[in-house]
């Protein structure tokens, strides 16, 4: 048996099919993964993301600490509540985890990290603080739960649960900003390519929040739909599309690495500078399958005349009604590849990510 979120029993009561995800018992769907996917693209859906880990880091030196710890630059965070997506790298440039960091105030930053990497991340962060002789409070917030509310109706659904002052503040949030609303933290972030909020609440309040969101018309959605939505949205999944042995420049995440300012010496910088100088031999691309079938992680990609690669994540896209994937392929790959699916070489087109944003296809089929 895995670890359980505070919503576990409610998921079971709602008919969820539960699976292991990173050591947690999580809902994969509540009946139909496809309907849940469409609910998010067309209206509003809710996801239990309480398995993800909120880490509050408090202390006078927190900004300088994170400037060394993270590949993206927390120097970009000047306005309270602003969020930044970043990788945390090892010295080889490999990705220990991807995370979101929120600037709360000068002595308090909040990280949200992946479930499966929680212990590894905490160990790493604490060890670096010790190495660098920095005194910080690094607090794992197991007392909190988190619900992602996503879709074109998501913000109005959440706003309806807030008192007038908090409601106005939440609705004024620009994308990638968060704000405290009493004991809640509401951020305009997500992992679906739709508008919406991620809401962090005390664990004891999350069941009533979930029921209220259902009552307001938001559909309970499982990790299955979360995966198809994030793939359509061109968003990486840690462990599939990047990991300790793959750096951001071969994982479609070059945009998250802040090489400027030059004097900021973050962990992994030297390794990535070396890769950048010689040019990464591999790149991550989007694939659209031209033939019938379904692309899946670890399938072999053949690039005629150039070499081979591998699908890192693949699925059937409910919005496009076609199979889509991310694949790590040789740098010289241009617009077409073949994928080995059960011994047959099928045609796939290389496309620009994302596949879907705000309910609309961004690629031609």
């Amino acid at each position: 048996m895995g670890r359980k979120t505070p919503l576990h029993d409610l998921h079971v009561a709602q008919g969820a099919r539960m699976v292991d995800f990173g050591g947690w018992d999580m809902p994969v769907h509540y009946g139909s993964q496809l309907e849940e996917h469409h609910a998010v693209r067309r209206s509003a859906g809710i996801f239990d993301v309480s398995h993800m880990c909120v880490i509050d880091i408090r202390g006078a030196g927190v900004r300088a600490f994170l400037a060394r710890l993270l590949a993206n630059d927390v120097g970009k965070l000047r306005l309270a509540g602003k969020a930044l997506y970043s990788c945390m790298l090892n010295e080889r440039g490999g990705v220990i985890d991807d995370l979101i960091v929120y600037f709360m105030n000068e002595s308090w930053f909040r990280l949200v990290v992946n479930a499966g990497t929680r212990d590894k991340d905490l160990d790493w962060i604490r060890a670096r603080a010790a190495d660098w002789g920095v005194t910080l409070d690094i607090i794992e917030r197991s007392d909190l739960a988190m619900v992602a509310v996503q879709g074109p109706r998501a913000r109005e659904v959440v706003a309806g649960l807030l008192d007038p002052v908090d409601r106005e503040r939440a609705l004024r949030l620009e994308p990638f900003f968060g704000t405290e609303c009493g004991a809640w933290f509401v951020a305009r972030t997500g992992y679906t390519g739709e508008d919406g909020f991620e809401v962090v609440v005390p664990a004891a309040e999350v069941e009533s929040l979930w029921r209220a969101l259902n009552a307001a018309g938001a559909a309970s959605c499982g990790l299955g739909a979360r995966d198809t939505l994030r793939l359509e949205a061109g968003m990486n999944l840690y462990g599939n599309d990047m990991d300790d042995d793959h750096h951001p420049l071969e994982s479609g995440l070059a945009w998250t690495v802040a090489f400027e300012p030059l004097e900021r010496d973050f962990i992994g910088r030297a390794a990535l500078e070396a890769v950048r100088k010689s040019g990464s031999p591999l790149k991550l691309v989007g694939l659209l399958l031209q033939d019938r079938g379904v692309l899946r992680g670890h399938q072999k990609v053949v690039v005629p005349g150039i070499g081979e690669g591998e699908v890192t994540s693949g699925t059937f896209s409910p919005t496009l009604q076609r199979s889509i994937a991310f694949a790590r392929v040789p740098k010289a790959t241009s617009d077409s590849v073949q994928v080995d699916i059960r011994g047959k070489l099928l045609q796939a087109r290389v496309v620009k990510l994302p596949f879907v944003r705000h309910g609309r296809a961004l690629i031609e089929l």
Partner: protein, 131 residues
């Protein structure tokens, strides 16, 4: 509870077999299997003329989440496959014992047929699996 029609034969790997009036055998996957797989989005069935060996993988069903093999319940030869599944794989979710049939075969494997599970035995397999 999964549906287990009384007039069909079954395998432990969740295929069903129906003897048609002309003696051919119709094969598909069970209600338990389609429910466990979830929404199906792709089905690959063998073409007419393909020789099947009992217990060997003969078709693939893919849900949004994963691909699964379908095993031949009997040794025989495919005489017809359900072409509608290419465009409507969801037929298996909606009606796995009817319009979601996968293949029709001819088989001289009488011993194999007698060795299939009847509905009560298959229901017991499901009960033992907790489903």
């Amino acid at each position: 509870m999964s549906q287990v029609p009384a007039d069909l034969k079954y395998t432990r790997s969740h295929e069903w077999v129906r003897r048609l009036a002309d003696g051919r055998l119709e094969i598909g996957i069970t209600d338990h299997a389609q429910h466990a797989l979830g929404d199906l989005v792709f089905v690959d069935v063998p073409e007419a003329g393909r020789a099947l060996e009992a217990g060997a993988a003969c078709a693939v069903v893919e849900s949004v989440k994963a691909a699964s093999d379908v095993y031949a319940p009997l040794t025989g030869t495919v005489v017809e496959s359900n072409a509608d599944l290419a465009t409507s794989p969801e037929a298996i979710n909606e009606d796995c014992y009817g319009k979601g049939w996968m293949i029709r075969i001819e088989s001289a494997d009488a011993a194999g047929f007698d060795g299939l599970l009847d509905a009560a035995a298959y229901a017991a397999v499901l009960a033992a699996e907790g489903g």
